[in-house]
């Protein structure tokens, strides 16, 4: 097959790949998006309105099938009877880890990637986050600060459509918001109590979500069915399929090629530039090349790095971009599974109507104004107050007509849940490398992941339990159930790092504009690029970095510097 030639190549069609495609095509570049997985037809694949009664196991899941084919993916809640099809087959997509260092790598290989089933929470960072590495001596300093990225956050937020409440909190700056859904009666009361009892330090605010409360850009406002991870036929939440890929297609300059597994980047040592990528057709297994002036790697943090590791040359025997010795290193996730639930004593005469997919957020309050003695950085809480309805039946004492009547006619008291999401420090010893003994279904060397949480994260998780319990006690909750689970990293599905940005080519893989130092026409703008991971959900930052990097690449192309 003769090589195909485009102005730009984007590898991956997930949340950052969709943005790269949109921005490149809108700037006039003929762009091919190479997606390893299958195409998605929303009319067929989106199943958010299929009720449990229409599923064979009523939503309990096809356990034997996922245990056989998705032994890793099954650990995430969204890999359920509706949405397991959006997660990879682990047998075709293997990776390895040392027996004592499990890592759950949760992946989606299809057009849209994980933007179909992502959590949709979007929070800006502050300079508290951008300066943390330099202040504390971990990893390398970010090569940019809040003001460098703020206009790009604004740019992407306006397109994405984000609901949020302006709080003027310096640690999570406000953005471009649509009017949020209101807090429910129990959450509002809880907010008021905590503001008083914690002196404004712990704030229950509305979750900032990439879910529309107003019609926006040809997409309809959310109809509150509550099952975003199964798709959305009204395109009310942001995903590549719902938003960026249609925008790119509108330009007439997009070629989207599914079933295209990128093997490696092709590097020309004479020009000191990449000339294209080597691709394997997922169905025919035929190999072919695609050439372009500029390449954006957006295959997801570890996949983009895997491509670079598989792109070794004589000059870069450990992979393209490896000259600093940091390619593959400094892998991070967040840490979760620390928190508490409790039964609230108020608002029993109030209920909610509509199923919000996400509800509240408590922004970071540790190490903001005062230093915590046990750990660096911080965490926020996601959560909600809800009335369990019939779902409480299996735990509720009783049976018979009155039991049934209670399950149908009452909702149970409000339950509040606070679940922490904390920052993981960048550490060189957390890394991915090629496994010399393992290939995927297309014969491409697979990754071996070495990653563990440090004592800092574990101490932070312990504090999540303490502070969640404190808040519930302050609310007068009963039946308080603290929880802490010792899950391996990866499961938060916020894996970042392995090709970090930096100021110095000796210590980083990418420069301040996401260019690979060793191959300046290759940009990496997914989670791989992050020198640290803050505690906020990362996707909106990938989007902003991508838009910024495309703008820079376009300037370089116009100046013929690529």
């Amino acid at each position: 097959m003769p090589p195909m030639t485009y102005d730009a190549i984007v590898v991956g069609s997930g949340i950052s790949g969709g943005w790269a495609a949109k921005e490149l095509t809108e700037k006039g570049l003929r762009t091919i998006v190479l997606e390893a997985g299958r195409p998605i037809d929303p009319a067929v694949d989106y199943v958010e309105h299929v009720p449990p009664s229409e599923k064979r196991y009523r939503g309990m899941g096809n356990r034997k099938q996922v245990e056989r084919y998705q032994p890793i993916q099954r650990h995430t809640g969204a890999c359920d009877e509706w949405s397991s099809k959006f997660f990879v087959n682990d047998l075709d997509n293997p990776y390895s880890f040392p027996e004592d260092k499990p890592f759950y790598w949760i992946r989606g290989r299809q057009v849209g990637g994980r933007s179909i089933m992502w959590g949709r929470c979007v929070y800006r960072w502050s300079d508290l986050d951008f300066t943390a590495n330099a202040r504390e001596g971990y990893g390398v300093d970010w090569p940019l600060r809040y003001n460098d990225l703020a206009p790009w956050w604004s740019y992407v937020e306006k397109f994405v459509g984000i609901q949020g409440r302006r709080e003027n909190l310096p640690q999570v700056p406000d953005g471009e918001f649509q009017t949020p859904w209101p807090l429910n009666a129990a959450e509002q009361k809880s907010r008021d109590i905590l503001l008083t009892k914690f002196g404004g330090e712990r704030v229950i605010t509305n979750a900032r979500l990439a879910v529309l409360t107003e019609d926006h850009g040809g997409r309809q406002k959310c109809h509150l069915c509550g099952h975003c991870a199964r798709g959305c036929i009204t395109f009310s939440y942001f995903s590549s399929i719902n938003s960026t890929l249609p925008a790119a297609r509108k330009t007439g300059r997009l070629t989207l090629r599914p079933f295209s597994v990128v093997h490696s980047v092709i590097y020309d040592p004479a020009k000191r530039r990449a000339t294209g990528v080597r691709v394997i057709d997922a169905n025919t297994k035929q190999m072919f090349d695609v050439n372009a002036k500029v390449i954006f790697l957006n295959a997801s943090a570890m996949e983009s790095t895997r491509i670079l590791l598989n792109s070794a040359t004589k000059e870069f025997p450990n992979g393209l971009g490896s000259s600093s010795g940091e390619l593959g290193h400094n892998l991070m996730d967040h840490i979760m599974d620390g928190g508490a639930t409790g039964t609230l004593p108020f608002a029993t005469d109030r209920r909610e109507i509509g199923n919000r997919p996400d509800a509240i957020y408590v922004p970071r309050f540790r190490n903001v104004k005062t230093k915590h003695p046990d750990f660096l950085r911080g965490y926020g809480f996601e959560g909600r107050a809800y009335r369990p309805g019939w779902d409480r039946g299996s735990e509720m004492p009783g049976f018979g007509a009155s039991f049934k009547k209670s399950l149908i006619g009452d909702l149970g008291p409000w339950v509040m849940d606070f679940g922490g999401f904390g920052e993981m420090l960048p550490r060189h010893e957390n890394y991915v490398a090629l496994d010399p003994h393992l290939v995927d279904a297309w014969g491409i060397p697979a990754l071996r992941v070495n990653c563990t949480y440090s004592e800092n994260e574990k101490k932070m998780q312990e504090d999540m339990v303490v502070s969640a319990t404190e808040m519930l006690e302050a609310l007068g909750a009963t039946n308080i159930r603290p929880y802490k689970e010792d899950n391996p990293p990866g499961l938060v599905i916020h894996e970042t790092g392995t090709a970090r940005m930096g100021r110095d080519p000796k210590t980083s893989v990418l420069n301040a504009h996401n260019q690979v130092w060793d191959a300046p026409n290759v940009f990496v703008t997914d989670g791989a690029c992050m020198p640290s991971t803050a505690n906020q959900n990362p996707s909106i930052t990938y989007m902003a970095l991508t838009a910024r990097a495309v703008d820079y690449a376009h300037q370089l192309l116009n100046r013929r510097e690529l």
Binding site: V44, H49, P52, M60, F399, A401, S406, L411
Partner: protein, 183 residues
């Protein structure tokens, strides 16, 4: 699934080129799947076990002015889960627990739970309801039976439609709506 509501909602959106095909196709598929579900026979529970499971499920959620567990085929659902979803160990433990329920019944004057008087059945179920934390035997089997009965009942198509009146489309979120329990 309230087809009319879905289609009505989509009517307003038909101007958008990406939407219209979804609901029709999804609902057709759903209806076909549901027909298949209705045909599921018992595969794990023998006749005595079916009678026991049916008796207890119906006592947990009885027929009143609304359907009971039996009429929405909760026992068939439990059998399906035991057959296709439970591990061998889980199935064995559950079936042993059912046998244990009959053993407990013998202390109340009958060799089988189903042959007890209603009052004796209530007495034994009250005891078992208090033993749901047990890790084996009748208490564990009752706990699983109760959980599956509640789940199977409220996820049946009839209960979704007639009792829960499950809704997929809301015109905005309301979080502070007056509520009085109907109990």
């Amino acid at each position: 699934m309230r087809r009319r509501e879905v289609v009505q909602f989509l009517g307003a959106a038909l101007a958008l080129p990406f939407i219209p095909r979804g609901a029709e196709a999804a609902m057709k598929l759903g209806a076909e799947l549901h027909l298949r579900l209705d045909d599921v026979p018992f595969s794990t529970l023998n006749r005595d076990q079916q009678a026991l499971v049916t008796s207890i499920a119906e006592m947990i959620i009885p027929e009143t002015d609304t359907p009971g567990a039996t009429s929405v085929k909760v026992p068939e659902f439990i059998d399906l889960i035991l057959t296709e979803r439970a591990t061998d160990d889980e199935r064995t433990v559950f079936l042993a627990g059912l046998r244990d329920i009959d053993v407990r019944a013998s202390a109340l004057g009958s060799n089988r739970f189903v042959d007890l008087s209603t009052a004796k059945k209530v007495e034994l179920m009250t005891t078992l309801d208090g033993a749901r934390g047990d890790t084996a035997g009748a208490g564990l089997a009752f706990a699983r039976l109760k959980a599956l009965t509640v789940y199977g009942y409220f996820t049946s198509q009839r209960v979704e439609q007639e009792i829960l009146k499950m809704q997929m489309f809301f015109n905005g979120y309301q979080g502070n709506v007056p509520f009085t329990p109907a109990v």
